[in-house]
Each structure stands twice: as structure tokens, then as C-alpha cells.
């Protein structure tokens, strides 16, 4: 299908047909903050534009899957509209973002792999915790299971391959790292990622409205808490961590 360059950045959005009721708008390839920020800006514009026939969109690292009702619209007209929206994106101006301050009880029974991650990265556990709490994570996308957010921004010093032997069950609220990424597990699930700590916040809780804590495009910072504070917060029904609005900056920080 059509390929039209995106003037502001020189990137080339590509439209890809995905069957009779979906298409993919690809803004680039790979995992990069500025690229992902453009994805979420375009996704928001699609939502705000109220285009007829759009069923839902799935924003990912570098693309958006747009599912549509072919009785209302079609690949060609919708594709052209999406390209027009992408071409009009102002990539220079970032928009305000939501940043969650997520409390984490690191190490011990809450984070069984913290010591090993420290040993492998040739650092003390205190240094590993400091590195984690200094990082400004970005929710690149959600996938895999309800509420599972892929967090980019793990300091390079902590990049490590996944566990050779995945665990069959890791507790809900586990703060983990795998490869170059971090995550908070929404529910009990199997995982080969390293467990650093646990948060009393649940990223997926059907008793809460909305049930999802993190949305694509959000920011996350971790803050260390004691086991006693963990117990206190976990006892609160439907604990939601604090959040702040990150004002619109001139340029997307290429962290």
C-alpha cells in the first residue's frame, strides 16, 4: 500500500493491510522513546478524530493496529485518513503525560532475584535499587496478559538475559526485569524475568474502575518502601499509587 514520508521527522509511516477488517500503521521499527511517543500521539489523535467505523486500536512499540468495521469504512479511505493524521503530527511538541509513583518493597521474599541481579551487574543491592528508582520508565505498550505493561528505560547497567529456568508462578505485583525491559506483573503468572521486588499496587483489578492502572504512553517511577509500609498499603482495599502530570516539554527526552 501507500508509503508517504512523515515531514516533521523524516520517518516513513507505512500502511499494511491486515485482512479485511484491520490495518497496521507503522511509524518506524525498533524500540525507541521518541518513536513510541509518536505512536501514542497518533493513537490519541485517532481516538479524538471520531473516525466512523473504527472498532478499536492497539498501539505498540512502533505501530498501531487499527481494527475497523468494513461495512462502514474500507482499507483505502481509512488508510488515507490515517496517513493524513500521521502527516499532521507535530513531533516536536510533547504532550502532558501521566507519571505513576509506584512504591516497591525490594529484595528479600518480595524480590528473590535482587541479590543475583546485583552480583551479575557487579553492584551492591542498594546501588541496584537506586538505579531502578532513578529511572523514568515509559509504558511502551500493554500485551501478553490483561494489564501487563512493557516498561522501557531500564538503566543499561542492569540489562541481563532472562532466567534460564522460568518460574511457573510469580506473585501479582512483582516488579521484574528481563533483557532491556522492566514490568510489573498484573496477576499470578509464569515468568522468566528476574524478581526485584513487589508493589502493593495492582495493575489489573476488576473490583476497581477502571481496572487497569497503566495505560500505553504513561510514565512510571519506582520508590522504595519498607516491608512494614508494604504490608500497610497492601491491606488497603484497592490501593492506587499516586500519580503526577508531567508537563508538556519542548522535546521528547531521548532516554
Amino acid at each position: 500500500m501507500s508509503v508517504i514520508p512523515l515531514p516533521a521527522s523524516g520517518r516513513t509511516p507505512v500502511l499494511r493491510a491486515a485482512g479485511d477488517s484491520a490495518l497496521i500503521v507503522e511509524l518506524g521499527d525498533g524500540i525507541a522513546p521518541a518513536l513510541n511517543a509518536a505512536v501514542h500521539r497518533l493513537d490519541r489523535r485517532i481516538a479524538e478524530s471520531g473516525l466512523p467505523g473504527i472498532v478499536e486500536t492497539v498501539p505498540t512499540y512502533r505501530s498501531i493496529l487499527v481494527q475497523f468495521d468494513p461495512a462502514v469504512t474500507g482499507l483505502e479511505p481509512l488508510g488515507q485518513t490515517l496517513l493524513d493524521l500521521a502527516a499532521g503530527l507535530d513531533t516536536a511538541a510533547a504532550e502532558p503525560q501521566r507519571r505513576w509513583i509506584v512504591p516497591v518493597c525490594f529484595g528479600g521474599a518480595h524480590g528473590e532475584d535482587l541479590d543475583e541481579v546485583a552480583r551479575r551487574s557487579d553492584r551492591t543491592t542498594a546501588e541496584v535499587i537506586d538505579l531502578h528508582c532513578s529511572a523514568d520508565y515509559r509504558v511502551y505498550m500493554l500485551g501478553f496478559s490483561p494489564g501487563f505493561a512493557y516498561l522501557g528505560g531500564l538503566p543499561e547497567a542492569l540489562h541481563q538475559p532472562r532466567r534460564e529456568n522460568p518460574r511457573m508462578a510469580t506473585p501479582a505485583g512483582s516488579v521484574m526485569q528481563g533483557g532491556a525491559q522492566a514490568a510489573i506483573s498484573p496477576i499470578v503468572m509464569p515468568s522468566g524475568w528476574h524478581l526485584l521486588g513487589r508493589t502493593p499496587a495492582r495493575t489489573f483489578d476488576l473490583r476497581r474502575d477502571p481496572p487497569f492502572l497503566l495505560a500505553p504512553g504513561d510514565r512510571v517511577r519506582f520508590t522504595a518502601i519498607s516491608p512494614a509500609e508494604f504490608n500497610r498499603l497492601e491491606a488497603l482495599p484497592g490501593f492506587v499509587p499516586p500519580s503526577e502530570t508531567v508537563p508538556a516539554a519542548g522535546k521528547e527526552v531521548a532516554a
Binding site: R16, A17, A18, G19, D20, S21, A22, L23, I24, E26, D29, G30, I31, V55, E56, T57, V58, P59, T60, Y61, R62, S63, I64, L65, Q67, P70, A71, G74, L75, E76, M141, L142, G143, F144, S145, P146, G147, F148, P186, I187, F204, L206, P211, F212, A215, P216
Partner: protein, 340 residues
């Protein structure tokens, strides 16, 4: 007391399904929903429900259940033997069951999945806008699980009214062949010309690893041109991904929302259900169509779905004590009339 259906024995993979959970894929929530929306709609229409109401989807064999309270009106849409209190009754026909009567839905004679619906639907709380069961994330249905013996399914309608029964001739439904239509892409450039030729030219067999999430196919290895990893992106219904083994996997109703294998093609809408009805060992081929043709196929399929209520015919006042009369009913003869 509210009317319930008590499950006496469940089929190997029976779940409550509607048209699925729409709007939450961005949060990692799978869509789920009926694997064969046409038969799902047929079961609902036979009992006078909306075509997208919650109904039970079963695989290979159906369920046995008893009415507690009632009466309750049910209908089975599948090529299957059905009994009420051990007396044979026809599928594709609604029946009014009294308190204590037992419905048994046997093994499928053809196809992989069938449906039974109950008038008024189930009185269960939707989760994220849908009652569709997604077993892997334990969402929807009854506590997110497969139906099992002992389950009590509460009904929204306490007493099914005494009204005429409806029937539908399944031979009027579109036939499903062994050739499935696809639109190439979104990542066909990840495959060599030989890989694409094998995909479109050779025969594939449905493997035993086929369920509501994905359908693995066995056939010639499909050659990759540039590795088999992409930066994870969204997965539409019916996408066919090819992992490192070169053996394709079609992604079905319960598919994961995102994935990192290149997708060689996507099935056109109605052919996703055609694949969902194939059994392990069944053979198939793929045929590529242009996206515009795929949209025309989709539109025609939509017309078929919309016309489904018009295929209902009156089965007359159906009396279980006179089931032989209905079994002798010629379902093909006569004008197709509305039921209402």
C-alpha cells in the same frame, strides 16, 4: 427460585461465548468470543435471542444438563445427536424443557464446534462488557473457566413462554470448503519467494495443537527471508504467523493481543470460522485474494448473518411426547418464512 441449568456432564471444552470483549486489546485483554459466529448466532436466533447473546460453545462433544425450575427453551446448532430424557429430538430446532428434564448433546458428527443457546440467555455478570470466557486469563463465563459437572447456570428468564417452536435448515448455511482465503501481509516481506509459493501452493494439515487461541498447521516449511523476529505488534483475528519452525499458526478468537513473529497473511473474516471448524488431520490450502475482494467477501458474509433470522421456520407446536413427528419433518420443503 430462579431457574437454572445444572450441568451433569460437560464436553471436553465447553465455554460461554458471545461476540467477545471489544475495546480492551490495548490493555492486553484478549477478545475471545464465539469461534464460529454464524452457528453461535443460529443457536441464539432459534430461541428468539439477539444473535450475539451469550451461548455455550462446545468442541467435539456437547454437554448434558438438567433444568431446575423452568420451563426453559433451548436449541442446539450443530451436526449432533440430541436427546431429551433419552428420547431423540432434532438439533436446529427449539425445545421447551420442563423442570427436571435432561438434555444431552452428543459427539459432533462433523465439524469441530457447536453451540447451544437458551431463551433469554444466562444471568451472569459481563466482565469488561462481555460474558465471553477467556480461560487463559480467567475472565468471563462462570469464573473464567470451562464448564464442568455440577455447574449451575442461572437463566435470565425464569419461565420460557408457551409459544411455537422454531427450526432452521442448516443446509441453507454457506458451505465451507478446504480452501481458505487470505490477504497477504502484514509482513509478507519476511518470507522468500519460495516461502510464499509453498504457503500458497502446498497443502497443510491441521495439527493436534489447535484450540481457541491458535491453530498450528503442518506442511512444507515456509522459508523466512530475514529472520523470524519483528518488533512486537498487534495481532488481528485470523493472522497467520510463522515462527522459526516454518510451520504456520493461525491466531483465533482467544489469541494474544500482541506478538513478535512475522505474519505472512490474514484469513478473510468468514474463513476464520471455517478453520475453527476443522479437526486435527483435516487438510486445507490457502488462496490469496486482494484486500478489496476480501472486503467484498466480508460484506457478503455480513448479509448471510443478517439474513439468518429469515431462515427460521415454524416447527409448529412441538411436543416432546410427539418427537417422532418432528423428526419426520421435512426441513427442506416449503417456503422459508419468518418465525414471528
Amino acid at each position: 427460585m430462579t431457574t437454572h441449568l445444572r450441568i451433569l456432564a460437560a464436553g471436553p471444552s465447553s465455554t460461554i461465548q458471545d461476540r467477545g470483549r471489544v475495546g480492551y486489546q490495548r490493555y492486553g485483554v484478549s477478545v475471545a468470543g464465539a469461534a464460529d459466529p454464524l452457528l453461535h448466532a443460529a443457536a441464539n436466533i432459534l430461541v428468539g435471542n439477539r444473535p450475539d447473546a451469550g451461548a455455550v460453545e462446545f468442541a467435539l462433544a456437547g454437554d448434558s444438563l438438567t433444568v431446575e425450575g423452568g420451563p426453559a427453551r433451548v436449541a442446539v446448532a450443530a451436526d449432533v445427536a440430541v436427546t431429551v430424557d433419552d428420547q431423540p429430538v432434532p438439533a436446529w430446532t427449539s425445545l421447551r424443557l420442563r423442570d427436571g428434564q435432561t438434555l444431552r448433546v452428543g459427539p459432533l458428527r462433523s465439524g469441530m464446534r457447536g453451540y447451544w443457546a437458551v431463551q433469554g440467555g444466562f444471568a451472569i455478570q459481563p466482565v469488561l462488557g462481555s460474558v465471553a470466557t477467556h480461560v487463559r486469563s480467567r475472565l468471563g463465563g462462570l469464573d473464567g473457566g470451562l464448564l464442568k459437572a455440577g455447574d449451575r447456570l442461572p437463566l435470565a428468564l425464569d419461565e420460557a413462554p408457551d409459544q411455537g417452536e422454531a427450526t432452521l435448515d442448516p443446509s441453507l448455511l454457506p458451505a465451507r470448503g478446504g480452501t481458505l482465503r487470505v490477504v497477504l501481509g502484514p509482513q509478507q516481506e519476511y518470507f522468500t519467494a519460495a516461502g510464499l509459493a509453498a504457503f500458497l501452493g502446498e497443502e497443510f494439515t491441521v495439527s493436534h495443537e489447535a484450540d481457541r487461541m491458535g491453530c498450528r498447521l503442518n506442511g512444507p516449511a515456509i522459508e523466512h527471508a530475514r529472520g523470524f523476529n519483528i518488533t512486537s505488534d498487534g495481532i488481528p483475528l485470523g493472522a497467520i504467523q510463522v515462527p522459526g519452525t516454518g510451520q504456520p499458526i493461525a491466531l483465533m478468537a482467544d489469541r494474544q493481543t500482541t506478538g513478535g513473529y512475522p505474519k505472512i497473511a490474514c484469513l478473510v473474516g468468514p474463513d476464520v470460522a471455517a478453520l475453527a471448524q476443522k479437526r486435527p488431520g483435516d487438510r486445507l490450502r490457502f488462496r490469496a485474494v486482494e484486500a478489496e475482494e476480501a472486503q467484498r467477501i466480508h460484506a457478503r458474509h455480513r448479509e448471510t448473518l443478517d439474513a439468518l433470522p429469515g431462515l427460521r421456520r415454524s416447527a409448529g407446536g412441538f411436543d416432546l411426547h410427539d418427537s417422532t413427528r418432528l423428526l419426520g419433518f421435512n426441513l427442506i420443503d416449503g417456503a422459508v418464512t419468518g418465525w414471528d
